[in-house]
Amino acid sequence: MIVTKLEELHQLPEYKEALVELLFQLADDDFIIAYRGSEWLGLAPHIEEDVAFSSITQDTMGHAAMYYQLLEDIGMGRADDLAHGRGANERRNAILLEEVNGPGHYLYEPQYDWAFAVVRNYFYTQAKKVRIDSLKNCSYEPLAQVAVKVNMELYYHLMHWRTWFVQLVNAGGEARERMRKAVEKVFDDFAGVLSLGEKGEKMVECGLIDSEEVLKARWLQAVKPVFEQTNLELPSEFHMKRGNGRNGEHTADLIEALATLSEVYRMDPLAIW
């Protein structure tokens, strides 16, 4: 079954419910990782990286905006409100992606952890690539079309983060040690990124996306050569130590991020941008 038009969608309440859930996961993931990326602006290790990282972040925020637009088209409210006006318990992003970049604050004494940034972004971008490849066959045609477009931009993002990952791990010394620690830390919550949440089975049944197991196997297959090349051990199990963001479980980091990023929006939610 392929759903191409909104009229068809509105006659399939269960299908629509699963689709909406999936779109919120995709949108909220890109939205919050892009916000964390934006906090790095001016703080990246060198100026070329500042240009690259902010460009990737801009693309990623664009992807989030487009998913929110798909939700608006379905009748879930205005894209701006969906991005800025929803509380932490309504968010569907993985907990790993909401975590602060490190101690301090971007305005004063930021002690951000570049190893964590590289590992989180590489692992997430690879997971996003696996999801996008699956979404190219999504039964909701507007989402399948968007996936084709996102995929082209993602190509450059993935190449970027993989390069950083391999170079830093293979550099040895302190770099390798910090990267190893970051890998360990990211795996503690990485199961949350690969989770489809409580409605996951319904999504698969509706032909929206492949199952968690399939996505995870493809992710492992994609990173395996990189782990071999860097002589790192790939665990067979990932964790969700702080809960599953797909089900609305979140940390204080997200509450604070939302308060900061929506400050201007909340002054006048009806303003035209």
Partner: protein, 159 residues
């Protein structure tokens, strides 16, 4: 009438590369004219491109100035996806005039690019950063004429 609308769109330049029009960039997918309403379907080059709203406003303005046009609707669509081979030959020339190398038509077996310097045409160039000042551009350096320059990223369906 559609021809007239198309001709008018040649005046809408990319706000970030003002030598090239949205027609030459291959962003215009479809133009229709129904009962006084001009409907233009555009393909964004990059999804998060901040110039999209400006482009929308300029299209609305240019077309609503035409006689017989009562209403203008601009829609951004993602299918077919914009790819860098949609840029016309004329567009490629205009990019060079602006100091931007057009996107490579082909990439090597490992995805590497051959980019010629837009100033001296030398292929003795070096990629400094795959990411540049805007989402669609990369930063290069010409080892022949010693000029830094930018190149449009190749964007293709095989990626």
């Amino acid at each position: 009438m559609v021809e007239k609308l198309t001709a008018a769109l040649a005046a809408v330049k990319d706000p970030e590369i003002d030598s090239i029009s949205i027609v030459e960039l291959g962003m215009v997918e479809n133009i229709q004219f129904v009962d006084g309403e001009a409907i233009v379907k555009l393909l964004p080059t990059f999804i998060g491109c901040p110039a999209l709203d400006i482009i929308r406003q300029r299209v609305e303005q240019v077309l609503s100035d035409l006689e017989g046009v009562e209403q203008v609707t601009v829609e951004f669509i993602h299918h077919p996806p914009w790819t860098s081979d949609r840029i016309t030959e004329q567009g490629r020339e205009k990019l060079k005039q602006f100091g931007i190398a057009p996107p490579p038509k082909q990439t090597g077996p490992n995805g590497e690019w051959q980019v010629e310097c837009p100033y001296c045409q030398s292929s003795y160039t070096l990629m400094e950063n795959i990411f540049g000042p805007t989402a669609c551009r990369s930063i290069f350096y010409c080892k022949q004429c010693k000029n830094p320059f930018e190149a449009l990223k190749p964007i293709s369906i095989w990626m």
